[in-house]
Amino acid sequence: MSEQFYYFLQQILNGVTIGSTYALIAIGYTMVYGIIGMINFAHGEVYMIGSYAAFFVLAGLAMLGIDSLALLLIAAFALSIMITSAYGWSIERVAYRPLRGGNRLIPLISAIGMSIFLQNFVRLAQGSRDIAMPSLITGGWTIGPADAFNVTLSYMQVVIFVVTFISMTVLTAFISKSKMGRACRACAEDIGMANLLGINTNKVISITFVIGAALAAVAGVLLSMYYGVINPYLGFMAGLKAFTAAVLGGIGSIPGAVLGGLILGITEAITAGYFSSEYKDVVSFGLLCFVLLFMPTGILGKPEVEKV
């Protein structure tokens, strides 16, 4: 196999890694939009809070002298999901529920305000410097020749693929099989009708925010361990990219968010790899414009039919 092939494979793996995490964050945007038709711009900050929660859990456990990898990972995921979900739930209660039913623009402004608030809250509480995260999972595989270009796949990248895949499977099962999932789908189709039929729509909306935040927490834990650095500003760019992924795949559609995330991640990697990393964002946002021009609802978006 030629060097060209290995290079292509490497860029695809890079793209899928980053795309998986875009997808995890994009779910939060797409589910909220699917149900209440609102764009939760504070979602990027929720992801950032997930990263900080993971850092505190890991630092705390390290101080207690616990160094079992499995225990650390389970604790980081579990506690970060709990803390971040609590934030997701509170954000909805404080910033969006009182404004529901009014003009659509008002919750949007409230969301932007929430985003600024959370970013500065973490900045003031934790300082604005980059915090280095301990890397728990190191090492990886090398594929291909040792003396020429070879493909590297770190264990952490595999963990990212696997955890993303598990999260998506669990979410799909929840939405399609459980009673609550059915209620979510009903709300997505017609929230007023669902309310009339005795579904507690407030609860469904809260659950939606909690699920979105939980997946953002998963992304936060994974990415903070993968890149090893967190700061209060990392939610902005990640949120923007995830939002793009959600729109690209068709906002409101969960498979669309996953597809959008992967397309965006791979496009970025291929552009940076074959053209120039300077044009990475130009090409990915250009692609977004192009897709929306021909498919205004995104790749998998079907307006007014089924949004969740």
Binding site: S128, A272, E278
Partner: protein
């Protein structure tokens, strides 16, 4: 009157009292504004400048001040953001300071200095290395550091003469400072017939550089010069090690602080950095080091010393009776200031004459040793 209005009234009264006490002080103090990032991703460099500036002001005050008057430092936070720097500059104008130490980032100093020049405020930057800052014919803008155009050639010369790599990649963060230095290194290397096989920008704030690293690995690059700041270079180093890119890295003084070691860990060992000389190791500066260490602050950063020297230069001019910013500027152009950095002289643009950067090798514990 309910509880809230009472509280508000109390706050108003105490603010008024504070205001009047500040006015009472104004007559016998000389206010020096120190502007730079207190917050934001590059706040470390701001700390260095503030440590140096504060130490200089305290030591000058202890030694009797300026002709009987005391210096007073006021810190302003620009977060290294051009927009906030303009707001800070306007605030400094309103607060009535006539002298500024700062700003730190070139992209912040440049717009802020427009305002200072218009309002007759003297500014000495201890860290901004962009040539454009002094290249606009301004009367009141000085610096106590070299220029990108010095740092680039120093780096290029070192690479060409000492490292002699086969293939070089030059990466930058698309900002005024980073791209400026990167271009200058590229020109220097090409002049020395060292092939630059890639010249690319990345986005500051990005976390994932795997795509560009794979590209450098495919190009079989053995030396990477990065123009920018430490958060991105730290990640580049770390990810390069993980992805098996076997290359030597080099960066400008904007990457040289301890955080790069905490971000990159072992991958930061052997990184080359161009930095101002280590004035804290100069025996003549022992008293200053002791003063800073006694306050529990760090005396090792490069901008501690450029900041200290900037205040010393201002103070020397003021002692000579040149308190007017324009007279002080005239004085600095025509006289030699004796500072912790040695004797400093400025040219007509406000740049230092004969400033030299050294090349340092960085270690994973956050220290560095001089190579040249």
């Amino acid at each position: 009157m309910n509880k809230w209005t009472k509280t508000a009234a109390g706050v108003a009264v105490s603010l008024a009292l504070l205001g009047s006490s500040a006015l009472a002080n104004a007559a016998d103090t000389i206010k020096i504004a120190m502007a730079g990032p207190v917050t934001g991703p590059v706040a470390q460099y701001g700390d260095m400048q503030f440590t140096g500036g504060n130490a200089a002001i305290e030591m000058i005050n202890q030694a009797g001040g300026i002709n009987g008057k005391q210096l007073e430092a006021v810190i302003y936070d620009d977060a290294c953001d051009p927009k906030q720097a303009v707001a800070v500059a306007n605030k400094i104008v309103n607060d009535g300071a006539k002298y500024v130490l700062g700003h730190l980032c070139s992209s912040a100093t440049q717009p802020a200095s427009d305002i200072y020049e218009d309002e007759g405020i003297l500014i000495i930057t201890a860290a901004s290395t962009s040539p454009e800052i002094t290249g606009r014919g301004y009367e009141l803008v000085f610096r106590t550091i070299g220029l990108d155009s010095d740092q680039g050639p120093t780096a290029a010369k070192y690479i060409a003469e000492q490292v002699k790599p086969k293939k070089v990649a030059v990466i930058h963060d698309k900002q005024q400072y980073g791209e400026g230095i990167a271009s200058s290194v590229k020109i220097g290397l090409e002049a020395a017939n060292i092939p630059v096989v890639a010249f690319e920008g990345i986005t500051a704030g990005d976390k994932d550089f795997s795509a560009i690293i794979a590209k450098l690995k495919k190009l079989d690059v053995d030396f990477v010069y990065y123009g920018g700041y430490h958060p991105e270079l730290g990640l580049l180093l770390r990810q390069s090690k993980e992805k098996g890119l076997d290359a030597m890295f080099m960066g400008p003084e904007g990457v040289g602080n301890k955080d790069i070691s905490s971000i990159a860990g072992e991958a930061s060992e052997g990184l080359l950095v161009t930095l101002p000389k280590k004035y804290d190791l100069d025996p003549a500066n022992k008293a200053v080091v002791d003063h800073i260490v006694a306050k529990g602050e760090d005396a090792t950063g490069p901008f501690v010393w450029t900041g200290y020297a900037a205040i010393q230069a201002m103070a020397q001019g003021m002692k000579a009776g040149k308190e007017d910013p324009f007279e002080l500027a005239e004085y600095l152009r025509n006289n030699t200031a004796s500072t912790v950095m040695g004797d400093l002289q400025w040219d007509s643009k406000g740049d230092l004459k004969g400033f030299e950067f050294g090349v340092f090798s960085w270690h994973k514990d956050g220290t560095s040793t001089q190579k040249q």
